[in-house]
Structures are given as structure tokens and as C-alpha cells.
Amino acid sequence: MSDVIAPRIRLLDSTLRDGSHGIKHRYTPEQVALIAGKLDEAGVHSIGVGHGDGLGASSIQFMRSLHTDDQLLTAARRAIKRARLAVTFQPGIGTKRHLERAADLGADLVRIATHCTEADIAVQHIRLARQLGMDVHGDLMMPHMTTPEMIARQGRIMVDAGATGVHIMDSAGALTMSDVRARIAAMLAEFGGDAEAGIHAHQNLSLAVANTIVAFEEGATLADACLAGAGAGAGNCQMEALVAVMEKTGRSTGIDLWTLEDVADQIVRPILTTPPSVDRTTLTQGFAGVPGSFLHHAFRAAERFGVDARDVLVEVGRRKSVGGQEDLVIEVAAQLAAARQSAAS
């Protein structure tokens, strides 16, 4: 057995945040309290809670959540004893008063997310979150859309503003394993002495666990995952599988696998009305590089306008959509339907 002590990898759960996308933001406070309590027992580092698109995102654009951020965060705060309660925040969607409210409700960690080339819009919010006493990680979304060097530079902006970790958020599940290696390596070369690197993998190309392990091999010490692989698109990296693979590959997790398995199978799976899967639509998202969160929007628009969801997603990808552009899904579906109609006449 090697005497070298590898840095402890910390797992951040997003069942109650990214997982929210998979159930159209319909978590109840009771479900949140139950699942958060079990995750806390199992020993995860942090528990993300709230609308899939973060504080203040309940809207027509991103779908309305059944319960408010306040209700869900209050339920989670009561249930959690040792893990960190985490919230997600996107500048341009939430505002500073949402951060202040989250701090009042007891959030410990804010994940501040921007498109992978736009970190500078987060500087004032990262600073405020730190002033409010919360830890901050920066999240760079859609990292397949820019170079590893740009990712590293954008991460540096977030670290200089006060982020203690920076994650690449593979929102489209479009990264291959070598894409992950290149990005994590570049990030750590740039700010490895000052902050940790993390990965948030999605399953659209069926690579989520593998991508996460590859990130660890490059030195990432933070990873997001969800119970039962819940989450946007084909879902997130499956927490139970990740923990099992980590243990098999000699990486200690401090997490109880059986507790995770039980809460995933007995509590989370029954809630997931459509189990996450790599199917013709979610695979198309990974292939076309389109945010996983667009899945239900694409289905809805496809049905409304009588077009194929895959055609909509491919066109949205061709137009280089970033996260947050759910409105483009509707416009594309409407335009595809109109074009088909005029071609027929």
C-alpha cells in the first residue's frame, strides 16, 4: 500500500438541485427534508437544494417550481446536521437579494455559475457571497464550447474574486474523457495552488462516471453527483456508482455506500417519473452539445408544434445556444413547423 496520502476527494450532491430538472422542479419540502437528511447521514460533503437553474429561476423561461426556494431551503436546513447546504446562483437570473436571502436561510455554500467564457459577470456576486459568510465555488457551464486555456483563465477570474473551487459543469454531457483531462489539467496549472478543481458530469454520452474518475486522475478533488443518476438530460453522474468505483480504485470517500443505495432506490427512484436514460433525445443533446435542462422544454415544444424533438435540439445546437436559452427551443420549434408548412404548400 502506498504511503502517499492522496488529497481527500469531496462529493457534492445535486439530487435536490440538478435532480429538480428531471422532475420539472416539483420537489416538495417533505421530500427535500427526507432526502437531505439521508444524504447527510451518508456523509456527503454538500447537499445542493433548489430550482435546477438556481435562486430566483422559478419562471416561465425555466418552468415554475412547485414550491419556493424559501420553502425548500428551510426544509433542508432543518434536516442537515453536518453536510454543507448549497445553493446555485446564476448572475442574470438571480440578484444580490437572492444571495442575501439564501444566507439568511442558512446556506453554507454558493455555486455561482456562468457560461464558460463569461466569468467576469460573477465577480460582484462571488465577493458578496463571501462577505455574507458563505463559501463559494465557481461553476463554468458548457465547457465543451471553449478551449481548456480559456476555461483556466475564466477559472482564475473566479478564484481571484474569492471562489475556493471551480467546477467544469458539463451541462450538455458533451465532454469526452480526453476533453475532461485537458480542462482539469489546464485549470490546476493555472490556479491549483489557490483553489480546487471540480467536475459536474452529465450522462448524455454515457460517460459521466468515467469522466469523473478521469478528472480525479488529473487532480480534481471535487465532484458533483446525484442519487440514482437523477438530473437534467440523461441525468448526472450516479452518486452510488461513483462511490463504488472510487472505493474499487483506492479512493476513500468517507461515505456509506449502502445508505446511498437505499435512499436512491427506495426514496429517489419512485419520485423520478421518467428515469434518467441515454435515449435518442438525451443522446442527441450530448452529441449536439445542447444543455440537458432543455430536454423537457424540447419535448413540450415538439409536441406543441408537431416536430421531432431531435430536430429542434440539433438546430438549437447549430445556433450555438448557451445555457439559459430555453426560449430558443420554442422559437426553433415554431420556425421548423412553419418551414415545413410552407414547403408543403
Binding site: 419562471s59 416561465i60 423561461q61 448572475p91 442574470g92 437570473i93 440578484t95 444580490k96 457560461h115 467564457t117 463569461e118 467576469d120 459577470i121 465577480v123 460582484q124 464550447m145 471553449t146 406543441r304 445556433r319 450555438k320 445556444s321 448557451v322 439559459g324 436559452q325 426560449d327 430558443l328 420554442i330 422559437e331 415554431a334 420556425q335 412553419a338
Partner: protein
């Protein structure tokens, strides 16, 4: 008789504004006041025979006692100082910065409401693009909730915009209520770095409940037509859609390309609206 106007600020917005003001028969451009002697804006002004000053606003105004109206295209903090200088000289101001000291004007909605105000501001580009639509719907019936999503090219969002995103979304949301007439407003802003740069687009969602769809859609078309009269690049991307009590529509703004590139419709919408307001002030004086 054309009204003598000045432009404060020789950056991208001030320079684009210069070209639009020079084309406008109701306005006579007396000069541009900047602070950077090597700025391209001042060089362009000189090449067009426009007085270009880099000695600060106070000196500029002393040199041009005939100025009746000024556009402020500098910054929110600089505007606070300029507002005092202009007010002391009785010079009307159209403020393109986010300082929001005076009342807000969206030309299609309340152009005549503040003709006596010493200064007016133009809120945000998102407000200019979407308030006319929401106001038109409010003219037909109650709008319970209006939500807008502005998506702009990263290249057209400078450091000022990037450090003021909260202000953008908050003041746009407020204007959907106070000028648009919605009972509740929400605004979202997205930046997209795609190359070639995308045109500014704005999604408008309005909860119109039982408002007859035909009348709602008609009101939207009429508003778009009126706005296009002063912002020629403003157009609908698809027909307005009505389902389940919600009207959804997408408007795009293509810039005129006077100085700012065509994709920077978010900036062009401000310069075009500013000129429309100044033109109305000028007409008001003539009456």
C-alpha cells in the same frame, strides 16, 4: 429651427449616436465632449466637422453656450456630476447611462409624459425592446405577469454591463410594471459568445389570461410596427403565440451599423430611442 445638442462621451455609444444625430433634421450637433484625446470617437467627430473637445464637460459647455440639450453616453457615476452642470445651465438631458436620476422614457409608451423634465433616462436596452409590447397588451386588458429574457452577444456587453447585471434585470423588471402596466414583472439576461456574434433577441412572455388572442396578437403587431419606425432594425422573429393564457413572442434588434456593428442591436436600440426622445423635445420647443 433645429435645436442645438451636444453629446457627452466619445466611446462606442456616443460615437454611434453622433451619426444618428447628424442625420436628424430636428437636431443640430454642436459638439462631442470626451475625456480621451486619442479616442477614435473624437477623431471621427473632427473628421465630420463636429467640434471634438477633450477638456471635460464644464469647459465644453462654457465654449458652447448655445447648447439646449445634451445626451449623456458616459457612465452612471460621471452622469451624476454632469447632471448638476447641465441643470445649472438649464440644459435638458437624455441620459443613456444607468444612473436613473430622472424619469424613465420608452418612446412608444410615454414620449409625451415628461416633456418638461430636466432629464429623462432610457432604462435599459431590454426595457426599450419589450416594454412597448407589454404596454400594448395592457392597453387591451390586464397583464398579470410579464417576463422578458434578453440574450445579447458577449462582444456587445462591455465592462459596464457586466458589472451591472443586477441593475439591468431589476430596473427592466420594474419598468415592465411601471411603464408596461404588468402587475408583476421579471427580467433575465443571458450573454452568448457565439461567433459570428448573435443579434440581440428578447423573449416576452405575458400572462394575459382570458384576453382574446386575436386582439392580443394584433396589439403586438401594432406595437412592433410603431417601434420599428424609430428603431428600423426591430422586428419579430416569429408570429406571437398564444396558448393557455400566455402570449409568447420573440423580438430581435439588428443595429443600423452606423458605428457599432450590426449585431450590437442592444446598444443601437438605446441610441435610436435617445434620438427619438430628443427629437420630441425639439418639436415640443417649436410648438
Amino acid at each position: 429651427m433645429a435645436v442645438a445638442v451636444a453629446i457627452l462621451g466619445s466611446g462606442n455609444i456616443g460615437t454611434d449616436l453622433m451619426y444618428k444625430v447628424l442625420r436628424n433634421l430636428a437636431l443640430e450637433l454642436v459638439g462631442v465632449a470626451g475625456i480621451d484625446p486619442s479616442s477614435e470617437g473624437l477623431a471621427r467627430a473632427r473628421s465630420l466637422g463636429v467640434d471634438a473637445s477633450d477638456r471635460g464637460v464644464a469647459a465644453f459647455l462654457d465654449d458652447h453656450p448655445d447648447v439646449m440639450m445634451a445626451f449623456d453616453a458616459t457612465s452612471a457615476s460621471a452622469h451624476v456630476e454632469h447632471a448638476a452642470l447641465l441643470a445649472a445651465r438649464g440644459i435638458r438631458c437624455v441620459d443613456l447611462t444607468p444612473a436613473a436620476l430622472g424619469p424613465a422614457v420608452v418612446p412608444d409608451v410615454n414620449l409625451d409624459e415628461h416633456l418638461d423634465a430636466p432629464e429623462v433616462n432610457l432604462v435599459t436596452c431590454g426595457a426599450q425592446a419589450t416594454v412597448p409590447i407589454v404596454a400594448a397588451l395592457s392597453g387591451v386588458g390586464p397583464v398579470r405577469y410579464a417576463e422578458i429574457v434578453s440574450t445579447v452577444a458577449s462582444r456587445s456587453a462591455g465592462p459596464g454591463t457586466r458589472s451591472n447585471i443586477d441593475e439591468f434585470t431589476t430596473s427592466t423588471a420594474q419598468s415592465l410594471e411601471t411603464l408596461g402596466g404588468a402587475a408583476e414583472g421579471k427580467a433575465i439576461m443571458i450573454l452568448n459568445p457565439a461567433e459570428p456574434p448573435i443579434m440581440m433577441r428578447n423573449a416576452v412572455y405575458a400572462e394575459i389570461d382570458a384576453m382574446p388572442a386575436g386582439q392580443a396578437v394584433g396589439a403586438v403587431y401594432a406595437a412592433v410596427g410603431r417601434v420599428a419606425a424609430y428603431i428600423p432594425g426591430y422586428h419579430l422573429a416569429t408570429e406571437p403565440l398564444v396558448a393557455d393564457g400566455v402570449l409568447t413572442t420573440f423580438v430581435e434588434v439588428e443595429g443600423a451599423g452606423d458605428y457599432l456593428p450590426r449585431f450590437a442591436g442592444n446598444l443601437d436600440i438605446m441610441t435610436s430611442a435617445a434620438v427619438r426622445v430628443a427629437e420630441r423635445f425639439a418639436e415640443g420647443r417649436a410648438l
